[in-house]
Amino acid sequence: MKSALLLGAILSLITASGFSQAQSADATKLYHRSLAATCANCHGTDGKGVVDGGMPLINNLTSEQMLTQLKAFKSGAREGTIMPQLAKGYSDEQLEIIANQLGKK
Protein backbone atom coordinates (compact mmCIF):
# COMPACT_ATOMS: atom_id res chain seq x y z
CA MET A 1 0.00 0.00 0.00
CA LYS A 2 2.76 2.29 1.08
CA SER A 3 4.75 1.60 -2.09
CA ALA A 4 1.63 2.04 -4.22
CA LEU A 5 1.05 5.42 -2.67
CA LEU A 6 4.68 6.30 -3.19
CA LEU A 7 4.53 5.21 -6.81
CA GLY A 8 1.39 7.28 -7.29
CA ALA A 9 3.13 10.26 -5.78
CA ILE A 10 6.12 9.77 -8.05
CA LEU A 11 3.87 9.43 -11.07
CA SER A 12 2.02 12.59 -10.12
CA LEU A 13 5.30 14.39 -9.67
CA ILE A 14 6.64 13.18 -12.98
CA THR A 15 3.36 13.88 -14.71
CA ALA A 16 3.20 17.37 -13.31
CA SER A 17 6.74 18.31 -14.00
CA GLY A 18 8.24 15.99 -16.54
CA PHE A 19 6.91 14.31 -19.63
CA SER A 20 3.44 15.78 -19.65
CA GLN A 21 4.93 19.22 -19.29
CA ALA A 22 7.19 18.48 -22.24
CA GLN A 23 4.16 17.27 -24.19
CA SER A 24 2.18 20.27 -23.10
CA ALA A 25 4.98 22.62 -24.14
CA ASP A 26 5.16 20.97 -27.57
CA ALA A 27 1.39 21.10 -27.95
CA THR A 28 1.30 24.75 -26.91
CA LYS A 29 4.05 25.54 -29.41
CA LEU A 30 1.98 23.83 -32.11
CA TYR A 31 -1.11 25.88 -31.19
CA HIS A 32 0.95 29.07 -31.34
CA ARG A 33 2.44 28.13 -34.70
CA SER A 34 -1.00 27.37 -36.12
CA LEU A 35 -2.40 30.68 -34.83
CA ALA A 36 0.48 32.60 -36.43
CA ALA A 37 -0.10 30.61 -39.63
CA THR A 38 -3.42 32.45 -40.06
CA CYS A 39 -1.29 35.44 -41.15
CA ALA A 40 0.79 33.49 -43.67
CA ASN A 41 -1.67 33.74 -46.57
CA CYS A 42 -0.84 37.44 -46.92
CA HIS A 43 2.51 37.79 -45.15
CA GLY A 44 4.26 34.55 -46.03
CA THR A 45 5.00 31.29 -44.24
CA ASP A 46 6.42 32.10 -40.76
CA GLY A 47 6.12 35.79 -41.64
CA LYS A 48 8.68 35.53 -44.42
CA GLY A 49 6.82 37.23 -47.25
CA VAL A 50 7.66 37.19 -50.93
CA VAL A 51 10.23 39.94 -51.50
CA ASP A 52 8.95 42.59 -53.94
CA GLY A 53 5.69 40.63 -54.02
CA GLY A 54 3.56 43.71 -53.39
CA MET A 55 2.52 42.98 -49.80
CA PRO A 56 4.13 44.87 -46.90
CA LEU A 57 6.93 42.72 -45.45
CA ILE A 58 6.77 42.06 -41.71
CA ASN A 59 9.86 39.92 -41.26
CA ASN A 60 12.06 42.85 -40.29
CA LEU A 61 9.94 43.68 -37.22
CA THR A 62 10.78 42.64 -33.68
CA SER A 63 8.02 41.05 -31.60
CA GLU A 64 7.58 44.33 -29.70
CA GLN A 65 7.29 46.37 -32.89
CA MET A 66 4.85 43.89 -34.37
CA LEU A 67 2.65 43.89 -31.27
CA THR A 68 2.63 47.69 -31.17
CA GLN A 69 1.46 47.80 -34.78
CA LEU A 70 -1.15 45.08 -34.33
CA LYS A 71 -2.59 46.90 -31.30
CA ALA A 72 -2.61 50.18 -33.23
CA PHE A 73 -4.54 48.53 -36.07
CA LYS A 74 -6.97 47.03 -33.56
CA SER A 75 -7.59 50.33 -31.76
CA GLY A 76 -7.92 52.26 -34.99
CA ALA A 77 -4.87 54.41 -34.20
CA ARG A 78 -3.24 53.12 -37.36
CA GLU A 79 -5.12 53.21 -40.65
CA GLY A 80 -4.97 50.53 -43.28
CA THR A 81 -7.03 48.58 -45.79
CA ILE A 82 -7.55 45.09 -44.36
CA MET A 83 -5.39 45.01 -41.22
CA PRO A 84 -7.62 47.23 -39.03
CA GLN A 85 -10.50 44.91 -39.91
CA LEU A 86 -8.57 41.70 -39.23
CA ALA A 87 -6.84 42.87 -36.04
CA LYS A 88 -10.24 43.47 -34.44
CA GLY A 89 -11.03 39.78 -34.83
CA TYR A 90 -8.22 38.60 -32.53
CA SER A 91 -8.03 38.83 -28.73
CA ASP A 92 -5.16 40.81 -27.20
CA GLU A 93 -3.64 37.53 -26.01
CA GLN A 94 -3.80 36.09 -29.53
CA LEU A 95 -2.10 39.19 -30.96
CA GLU A 96 0.69 38.77 -28.38
CA ILE A 97 1.17 35.15 -29.37
CA ILE A 98 1.31 36.08 -33.06
CA ALA A 99 3.84 38.87 -32.40
CA ASN A 100 6.00 36.56 -30.30
CA GLN A 101 5.82 33.85 -32.93
CA LEU A 102 6.52 35.95 -36.02
CA GLY A 103 8.66 38.79 -34.68
CA LYS A 104 12.39 38.82 -35.41
CA LYS A 105 14.20 37.14 -32.53
Binding site: L6, G18, A40, M55, K88
Partner: protein, 424 residues
Protein backbone atom coordinates in the same frame (compact mmCIF):
# COMPACT_ATOMS: atom_id res chain seq x y z
CA UNK B 1 11.38 0.92 0.65
CA UNK B 2 15.09 0.92 0.03
CA UNK B 3 16.76 3.29 -2.36
CA UNK B 4 17.32 0.60 -5.02
CA UNK B 5 13.63 -0.33 -4.94
CA UNK B 6 12.62 3.34 -5.16
CA UNK B 7 14.86 3.90 -8.17
CA UNK B 8 13.51 0.76 -9.79
CA UNK B 9 9.93 1.89 -9.41
CA UNK B 10 10.82 5.38 -10.61
CA UNK B 11 12.49 3.91 -13.66
CA UNK B 12 9.40 1.78 -14.32
CA UNK B 13 7.19 4.83 -14.01
CA UNK B 14 9.43 6.78 -16.31
CA UNK B 15 9.43 3.86 -18.70
CA UNK B 16 5.62 3.81 -18.76
CA UNK B 17 5.47 7.47 -19.55
CA UNK B 18 8.33 7.30 -21.99
CA UNK B 19 6.59 4.39 -23.64
CA UNK B 20 3.41 6.42 -23.99
CA UNK B 21 5.29 9.36 -25.38
CA UNK B 22 7.32 7.14 -27.69
CA UNK B 23 4.15 5.43 -28.90
CA UNK B 24 2.54 8.75 -29.80
CA UNK B 25 5.61 9.95 -31.64
CA UNK B 26 5.86 6.63 -33.43
CA UNK B 27 2.27 7.07 -34.56
CA UNK B 28 3.11 10.45 -36.00
CA UNK B 29 6.15 9.13 -37.84
CA UNK B 30 4.61 5.86 -39.03
CA UNK B 31 1.14 7.01 -40.00
CA UNK B 32 0.40 7.14 -43.73
CA UNK B 33 -1.26 10.47 -44.45
CA UNK B 34 -2.79 10.81 -47.91
CA UNK B 35 -3.89 14.20 -49.20
CA UNK B 36 -6.35 13.96 -52.07
CA UNK B 37 -6.45 17.10 -54.21
CA UNK B 38 -3.77 19.77 -54.60
CA UNK B 39 -5.82 22.96 -54.56
CA UNK B 40 -5.57 25.69 -51.94
CA UNK B 41 -6.77 23.23 -49.26
CA UNK B 42 -4.85 20.09 -50.15
CA UNK B 43 -1.50 21.65 -51.12
CA UNK B 44 -1.48 23.74 -47.93
CA UNK B 45 -2.41 20.73 -45.79
CA UNK B 46 0.42 18.66 -47.28
CA UNK B 47 2.99 21.39 -46.64
CA UNK B 48 1.81 22.25 -43.14
CA UNK B 49 1.60 18.61 -42.03
CA UNK B 50 5.32 18.53 -42.72
CA UNK B 51 6.01 21.90 -41.09
CA UNK B 52 3.93 21.26 -37.97
CA UNK B 53 5.44 17.78 -37.50
CA UNK B 54 8.95 19.19 -37.88
CA UNK B 55 9.25 17.17 -41.09
CA UNK B 56 8.49 13.81 -39.44
CA UNK B 57 5.01 13.00 -40.82
CA UNK B 58 4.75 10.80 -43.93
CA UNK B 59 2.67 12.83 -46.36
CA UNK B 60 1.62 11.87 -49.89
CA UNK B 61 -0.27 14.30 -52.13
CA UNK B 62 -2.36 12.83 -54.96
CA UNK B 63 -3.21 15.34 -57.68
CA UNK B 64 -4.02 14.73 -61.36
CA UNK B 65 -2.72 18.04 -62.70
CA UNK B 66 0.96 18.68 -63.36
CA UNK B 67 0.78 22.22 -61.98
CA UNK B 68 -1.46 24.41 -59.86
CA UNK B 69 -3.67 26.98 -61.60
CA UNK B 70 -5.22 29.56 -59.30
CA UNK B 71 -8.96 30.19 -59.45
CA UNK B 72 -8.50 33.54 -57.69
CA UNK B 73 -7.12 35.97 -60.32
CA UNK B 74 -8.30 33.71 -63.18
CA UNK B 75 -11.02 36.23 -64.09
CA UNK B 76 -8.22 38.52 -65.29
CA UNK B 77 -7.27 35.82 -67.78
CA UNK B 78 -10.89 35.66 -68.97
CA UNK B 79 -10.80 39.44 -69.39
CA UNK B 80 -7.48 39.28 -71.22
CA UNK B 81 -5.33 41.52 -69.01
CA UNK B 82 -3.26 38.58 -67.66
CA UNK B 83 -2.10 35.23 -68.99
CA UNK B 84 -2.70 31.76 -67.57
CA UNK B 85 1.05 31.32 -67.00
CA UNK B 86 0.98 34.23 -64.53
CA UNK B 87 -1.44 32.34 -62.27
CA UNK B 88 0.21 28.92 -62.61
CA UNK B 89 2.61 27.50 -60.01
CA UNK B 90 4.57 24.23 -59.95
CA UNK B 91 3.96 21.51 -57.37
CA UNK B 92 7.54 20.29 -57.14
CA UNK B 93 8.61 22.64 -54.33
CA UNK B 94 6.37 20.61 -52.04
CA UNK B 95 8.58 17.60 -52.64
CA UNK B 96 11.94 19.38 -53.05
CA UNK B 97 11.66 21.73 -50.08
CA UNK B 98 9.22 19.95 -47.79
CA UNK B 99 9.54 16.22 -48.44
CA UNK B 100 5.95 15.67 -49.58
CA UNK B 101 5.64 12.64 -51.85
CA UNK B 102 3.63 13.66 -54.92
CA UNK B 103 1.70 11.21 -57.08
CA UNK B 104 0.25 12.61 -60.29
CA UNK B 105 -2.91 10.54 -60.55
CA UNK B 106 -6.64 10.62 -59.84
CA UNK B 107 -8.40 8.90 -56.96
CA UNK B 108 -11.21 6.72 -58.28
CA UNK B 109 -12.51 5.44 -54.93
CA UNK B 110 -11.93 5.52 -51.19
CA UNK B 111 -12.72 2.56 -48.95
CA UNK B 112 -13.26 4.05 -45.48
CA UNK B 113 -13.55 0.58 -43.88
CA UNK B 114 -10.34 -0.91 -45.24
CA UNK B 115 -8.83 2.59 -45.17
CA UNK B 116 -7.51 2.40 -48.70
CA UNK B 117 -7.55 4.66 -51.73
CA UNK B 118 -7.69 3.39 -55.29
CA UNK B 119 -6.00 5.34 -58.08
CA UNK B 120 -6.87 5.55 -61.79
CA UNK B 121 -3.54 3.87 -62.54
CA UNK B 122 -4.82 0.80 -60.68
CA UNK B 123 -2.68 1.20 -57.56
CA UNK B 124 -4.20 0.91 -54.09
CA UNK B 125 -2.72 2.92 -51.25
CA UNK B 126 -3.40 2.42 -47.53
CA UNK B 127 -3.97 5.36 -45.20
CA UNK B 128 -4.19 6.06 -41.51
CA UNK B 129 -5.44 9.60 -42.15
CA UNK B 130 -6.90 10.89 -45.40
CA UNK B 131 -7.40 14.54 -46.23
CA UNK B 132 -9.96 15.01 -48.96
CA UNK B 133 -9.87 18.41 -50.65
CA UNK B 134 -11.54 17.95 -54.03
CA UNK B 135 -13.09 21.39 -54.52
CA UNK B 136 -16.55 21.50 -56.05
CA UNK B 137 -18.38 19.39 -58.60
CA UNK B 138 -20.52 21.20 -61.15
CA UNK B 139 -24.05 19.77 -61.18
CA UNK B 140 -24.49 19.79 -64.95
CA UNK B 141 -27.91 18.18 -64.66
CA UNK B 142 -29.26 21.21 -62.78
CA UNK B 143 -29.63 22.97 -66.17
CA UNK B 144 -31.32 20.97 -68.93
CA UNK B 145 -29.07 20.58 -71.95
CA UNK B 146 -25.99 21.96 -70.19
CA UNK B 147 -23.94 18.76 -70.16
CA UNK B 148 -24.23 18.36 -73.95
CA UNK B 149 -23.71 22.09 -74.58
CA UNK B 150 -20.59 22.11 -72.40
CA UNK B 151 -19.26 18.96 -74.04
CA UNK B 152 -19.72 20.58 -77.46
CA UNK B 153 -17.91 23.72 -76.23
CA UNK B 154 -20.97 25.90 -76.88
CA UNK B 155 -21.13 26.79 -73.19
CA UNK B 156 -18.13 27.04 -70.89
CA UNK B 157 -17.94 27.20 -67.12
CA UNK B 158 -14.28 28.14 -66.54
CA UNK B 159 -15.06 27.82 -62.84
CA UNK B 160 -12.13 25.50 -62.35
CA UNK B 161 -9.19 27.47 -63.65
CA UNK B 162 -7.37 25.85 -66.57
CA UNK B 163 -7.97 25.28 -70.29
CA UNK B 164 -11.60 26.51 -70.11
CA UNK B 165 -10.40 29.83 -68.67
CA UNK B 166 -8.30 30.40 -71.80
CA UNK B 167 -11.07 29.08 -74.07
CA UNK B 168 -13.60 31.48 -72.55
CA UNK B 169 -11.32 34.44 -73.27
CA UNK B 170 -10.99 33.23 -76.87
CA UNK B 171 -14.79 33.09 -77.19
CA UNK B 172 -14.98 36.64 -75.82
CA UNK B 173 -12.25 37.85 -78.19
CA UNK B 174 -13.96 36.31 -81.22
CA UNK B 175 -17.46 37.52 -80.27
CA UNK B 176 -19.00 39.93 -82.79
CA UNK B 177 -19.10 43.58 -81.74
CA UNK B 178 -22.66 44.21 -80.66
CA UNK B 179 -22.86 40.75 -79.11
CA UNK B 180 -23.89 39.71 -75.60
CA UNK B 181 -21.77 37.81 -73.09
CA UNK B 182 -24.14 36.10 -70.62
CA UNK B 183 -23.00 34.81 -67.26
CA UNK B 184 -25.44 32.87 -65.09
CA UNK B 185 -25.09 32.43 -61.33
CA UNK B 186 -26.67 29.58 -59.34
CA UNK B 187 -28.34 30.00 -55.98
CA UNK B 188 -25.82 30.31 -53.13
CA UNK B 189 -23.88 28.50 -51.78
CA UNK B 190 -21.44 28.13 -54.65
CA UNK B 191 -17.64 28.45 -54.98
CA UNK B 192 -16.37 32.05 -54.70
CA UNK B 193 -19.44 34.26 -53.97
CA UNK B 194 -18.05 37.47 -55.60
CA UNK B 195 -16.37 35.61 -58.49
CA UNK B 196 -19.16 35.94 -61.09
CA UNK B 197 -19.55 39.68 -60.44
CA UNK B 198 -15.80 40.18 -60.71
CA UNK B 199 -15.85 38.22 -63.98
CA UNK B 200 -18.61 40.47 -65.31
CA UNK B 201 -16.35 43.47 -64.53
CA UNK B 202 -13.39 41.90 -66.32
CA UNK B 203 -15.45 41.05 -69.41
CA UNK B 204 -16.98 44.56 -69.40
CA UNK B 205 -13.50 46.07 -69.08
CA UNK B 206 -12.42 44.12 -72.17
CA UNK B 207 -15.53 45.16 -74.11
CA UNK B 208 -15.08 48.80 -73.12
CA UNK B 209 -11.66 48.76 -74.76
CA UNK B 210 -12.27 46.41 -77.68
CA UNK B 211 -15.95 45.99 -78.58
CA UNK B 212 -17.83 49.08 -77.54
CA UNK B 213 -21.22 48.02 -78.92
CA UNK B 214 -21.30 44.81 -76.86
CA UNK B 215 -22.65 44.09 -73.40
CA UNK B 216 -22.52 41.74 -70.42
CA UNK B 217 -25.70 40.23 -69.05
CA UNK B 218 -25.61 38.90 -65.48
CA UNK B 219 -28.36 36.35 -64.88
CA UNK B 220 -28.45 35.80 -61.13
CA UNK B 221 -30.64 33.12 -59.55
CA UNK B 222 -30.25 34.93 -56.23
CA UNK B 223 -32.40 37.77 -54.94
CA UNK B 224 -29.49 40.19 -55.10
CA UNK B 225 -25.71 40.35 -55.51
CA UNK B 226 -24.38 37.82 -52.98
CA UNK B 227 -21.10 39.57 -52.08
CA UNK B 228 -19.75 43.16 -52.09
CA UNK B 229 -23.12 44.17 -53.58
CA UNK B 230 -23.02 47.94 -53.05
CA UNK B 231 -19.42 48.15 -54.30
CA UNK B 232 -20.09 46.17 -57.46
CA UNK B 233 -23.27 48.10 -58.26
CA UNK B 234 -21.43 51.40 -57.86
CA UNK B 235 -18.70 50.22 -60.23
CA UNK B 236 -21.24 48.99 -62.77
CA UNK B 237 -22.99 52.37 -62.71
CA UNK B 238 -19.81 54.46 -62.81
CA UNK B 239 -17.43 52.42 -64.99
CA UNK B 240 -19.67 50.12 -67.03
CA UNK B 241 -22.87 52.06 -67.55
CA UNK B 242 -24.65 50.64 -70.59
CA UNK B 243 -22.26 47.68 -70.73
CA UNK B 244 -23.34 45.57 -67.73
CA UNK B 245 -26.98 44.67 -67.22
CA UNK B 246 -27.85 42.92 -63.96
CA UNK B 247 -30.96 40.72 -63.71
CA UNK B 248 -31.60 39.21 -60.26
CA UNK B 249 -34.01 36.29 -59.61
CA UNK B 250 -33.21 34.84 -63.04
CA UNK B 251 -32.67 31.13 -62.54
CA UNK B 252 -31.54 29.41 -65.75
CA UNK B 253 -33.33 26.06 -66.10
CA UNK B 254 -32.40 25.03 -69.66
CA UNK B 255 -30.09 25.85 -72.54
CA UNK B 256 -30.60 25.23 -76.25
CA UNK B 257 -27.10 24.79 -77.65
CA UNK B 258 -28.17 25.19 -81.28
CA UNK B 259 -29.81 28.59 -80.87
CA UNK B 260 -27.82 29.70 -77.79
CA UNK B 261 -31.09 30.33 -76.00
CA UNK B 262 -31.53 30.29 -72.22
CA UNK B 263 -34.78 29.36 -70.49
CA UNK B 264 -35.87 30.43 -67.00
CA UNK B 265 -38.35 29.42 -64.33
CA UNK B 266 -40.55 32.46 -64.95
CA UNK B 267 -39.07 34.98 -67.40
CA UNK B 268 -38.97 35.02 -71.20
CA UNK B 269 -36.15 33.25 -73.07
CA UNK B 270 -32.90 35.12 -73.64
CA UNK B 271 -30.39 34.63 -76.45
CA UNK B 272 -26.70 35.48 -76.10
CA UNK B 273 -23.49 35.09 -78.12
CA UNK B 274 -21.17 33.77 -75.42
CA UNK B 275 -22.70 31.57 -72.71
CA UNK B 276 -20.83 31.27 -69.42
CA UNK B 277 -23.27 29.16 -67.42
CA UNK B 278 -22.45 28.31 -63.82
CA UNK B 279 -24.66 25.48 -62.62
CA UNK B 280 -25.42 24.55 -59.00
CA UNK B 281 -22.43 23.07 -57.24
CA UNK B 282 -21.76 20.32 -54.70
CA UNK B 283 -18.82 18.79 -52.88
CA UNK B 284 -16.21 17.32 -55.23
CA UNK B 285 -17.15 14.04 -56.87
CA UNK B 286 -14.92 11.79 -54.76
CA UNK B 287 -16.42 13.20 -51.54
CA UNK B 288 -19.97 12.54 -52.74
CA UNK B 289 -19.06 9.09 -54.06
CA UNK B 290 -17.47 8.13 -50.74
CA UNK B 291 -20.67 9.02 -48.88
CA UNK B 292 -19.17 12.03 -47.13
CA UNK B 293 -21.72 14.56 -48.44
CA UNK B 294 -24.18 14.15 -45.56
CA UNK B 295 -25.64 17.65 -45.79
CA UNK B 296 -28.50 17.37 -48.33
CA UNK B 297 -26.29 15.07 -50.38
CA UNK B 298 -24.33 18.13 -51.51
CA UNK B 299 -21.88 19.24 -48.85
CA UNK B 300 -19.76 17.51 -46.20
CA UNK B 301 -20.41 18.11 -42.52
CA UNK B 302 -17.18 18.29 -40.55
CA UNK B 303 -16.06 18.64 -36.95
CA UNK B 304 -14.67 22.17 -37.09
CA UNK B 305 -11.94 21.43 -34.52
CA UNK B 306 -10.12 19.06 -36.85
CA UNK B 307 -12.18 19.08 -40.10
CA UNK B 308 -12.87 15.37 -39.75
CA UNK B 309 -15.92 14.26 -41.70
CA UNK B 310 -18.87 13.46 -39.45
CA UNK B 311 -19.67 10.55 -41.80
CA UNK B 312 -16.31 8.74 -41.68
CA UNK B 313 -13.57 8.63 -39.09
CA UNK B 314 -10.02 9.55 -40.13
CA UNK B 315 -11.18 11.31 -43.31
CA UNK B 316 -10.71 15.07 -43.01
CA UNK B 317 -12.40 17.30 -45.60
CA UNK B 318 -11.29 20.82 -46.50
CA UNK B 319 -12.23 23.77 -48.63
CA UNK B 320 -15.19 24.26 -50.92
CA UNK B 321 -16.60 20.75 -50.31
CA UNK B 322 -17.68 21.35 -46.73
CA UNK B 323 -20.96 22.51 -45.28
CA UNK B 324 -19.84 25.96 -44.23
CA UNK B 325 -20.19 27.61 -40.85
CA UNK B 326 -22.33 30.77 -40.81
CA UNK B 327 -20.78 33.54 -42.96
CA UNK B 328 -17.83 31.33 -43.95
CA UNK B 329 -17.21 31.79 -47.68
CA UNK B 330 -16.09 29.10 -50.10
CA UNK B 331 -12.82 30.79 -51.03
CA UNK B 332 -9.21 29.85 -51.72
CA UNK B 333 -8.04 31.83 -48.70
CA UNK B 334 -10.49 29.99 -46.47
CA UNK B 335 -9.45 26.58 -47.83
CA UNK B 336 -5.82 27.42 -46.98
CA UNK B 337 -6.94 28.29 -43.44
CA UNK B 338 -8.98 25.08 -43.06
CA UNK B 339 -5.85 23.17 -44.05
CA UNK B 340 -3.75 24.65 -41.25
CA UNK B 341 -6.34 23.84 -38.57
CA UNK B 342 -6.66 20.29 -39.88
CA UNK B 343 -2.88 19.81 -40.18
CA UNK B 344 -2.28 21.02 -36.62
CA UNK B 345 -5.10 18.81 -35.29
CA UNK B 346 -3.80 15.73 -37.08
CA UNK B 347 -0.25 16.30 -35.82
CA UNK B 348 -1.63 16.76 -32.29
CA UNK B 349 -3.80 13.62 -32.47
CA UNK B 350 -0.97 11.47 -33.79
CA UNK B 351 1.36 12.87 -31.12
CA UNK B 352 -1.09 11.98 -28.34
CA UNK B 353 -1.88 15.61 -27.53
CA UNK B 354 -5.23 17.31 -27.15
CA UNK B 355 -6.42 19.07 -30.25
CA UNK B 356 -6.35 22.88 -30.05
CA UNK B 357 -9.76 23.81 -28.57
CA UNK B 358 -9.70 27.38 -29.93
CA UNK B 359 -8.67 27.53 -33.60
CA UNK B 360 -9.03 30.75 -35.60
CA UNK B 361 -9.69 31.34 -39.30
CA UNK B 362 -9.48 34.49 -41.36
CA UNK B 363 -10.72 35.29 -44.83
CA UNK B 364 -9.65 37.94 -47.26
CA UNK B 365 -11.04 38.16 -50.76
CA UNK B 366 -9.97 40.68 -53.39
CA UNK B 367 -12.00 41.39 -56.54
CA UNK B 368 -10.57 43.29 -59.51
CA UNK B 369 -13.15 45.68 -60.94
CA UNK B 370 -10.84 46.56 -63.87
CA UNK B 371 -7.21 45.58 -64.51
CA UNK B 372 -5.85 47.78 -61.68
CA UNK B 373 -8.53 48.66 -59.14
CA UNK B 374 -9.68 46.26 -56.44
CA UNK B 375 -12.25 45.93 -53.66
CA UNK B 376 -12.03 43.47 -50.78
CA UNK B 377 -14.09 41.75 -48.12
CA UNK B 378 -12.45 40.36 -44.98
CA UNK B 379 -13.57 38.45 -41.88
CA UNK B 380 -12.22 36.68 -38.78
CA UNK B 381 -13.84 33.49 -37.48
CA UNK B 382 -13.21 32.22 -33.94
CA UNK B 383 -14.28 28.72 -32.83
CA UNK B 384 -17.33 28.79 -30.57
CA UNK B 385 -17.17 25.88 -28.11
CA UNK B 386 -20.82 26.00 -27.06
CA UNK B 387 -22.13 25.93 -30.63
CA UNK B 388 -19.29 23.80 -32.04
CA UNK B 389 -18.87 26.04 -35.04
CA UNK B 390 -16.90 29.06 -36.23
CA UNK B 391 -18.49 32.45 -35.72
CA UNK B 392 -17.38 35.77 -37.13
CA UNK B 393 -16.14 38.19 -34.48
CA UNK B 394 -18.55 41.12 -34.12
CA UNK B 395 -16.89 44.34 -35.30
CA UNK B 396 -14.17 42.55 -37.22
CA UNK B 397 -13.79 42.34 -40.97
CA UNK B 398 -15.57 44.44 -43.53
CA UNK B 399 -15.39 45.87 -47.01
CA UNK B 400 -13.30 48.40 -48.90
CA UNK B 401 -14.77 51.90 -48.89
CA UNK B 402 -14.19 52.14 -52.67
CA UNK B 403 -12.08 50.53 -55.42
CA UNK B 404 -8.40 51.49 -55.29
CA UNK B 405 -5.14 50.82 -57.10
CA UNK B 406 -3.40 50.32 -53.72
CA UNK B 407 -5.65 47.33 -53.10
CA UNK B 408 -4.79 46.22 -56.62
CA UNK B 409 -1.14 46.03 -55.54
CA UNK B 410 -2.14 44.18 -52.35
CA UNK B 411 -4.30 41.76 -54.33
CA UNK B 412 -1.29 40.64 -56.38
CA UNK B 413 0.77 40.64 -53.17
CA UNK B 414 -1.81 38.38 -51.57
CA UNK B 415 -1.69 36.07 -54.59
CA UNK B 416 2.09 35.75 -54.61
CA UNK B 417 2.19 35.15 -50.86
CA UNK B 418 -0.61 32.60 -50.69
CA UNK B 419 0.85 30.69 -53.65
CA UNK B 420 4.19 30.64 -51.83
CA UNK B 421 2.49 29.71 -48.55
CA UNK B 422 0.53 26.86 -50.12
CA UNK B 423 3.10 25.54 -52.59
CA UNK B 424 6.49 27.19 -52.05
Amino acid sequence: MDRRHFIGQSAAALGMLAGFSGQARANLQKAEILVIGGGYGGATAAKYLRLFSNNTAKVTLIEPNASFVSCPLSNLVVGGSRTISEITSPYDNLSKRHGVKIIQDSVTSIDPVKKTVKLASGKTLPYDKAIVSPGVALMMNSIEGLAQANKAGVTLQAWKAGPETVALHKQLASMRDGGTFAISIPEAPYRCPPGPYERACQVANYLKQNKTKSKVLILDANQDVTSKGALFKKVWAEQYSGIIEYLPKHNVTAVDAKTKTLKFEVQDDIKADVLNLLPAMSAGEIAVKTGLANSNGRWVNVNFLNFESTAQKDIHVLGDSIQIAPAMPKSGHMANQHAKVAAAAIVAELSGWDVNPAPVLTNTCYSFVNEREVVHVASVHQYNTAEKTFKTVPGSGGLSPAPSTLEGVYAWGWAHNIWADSLG
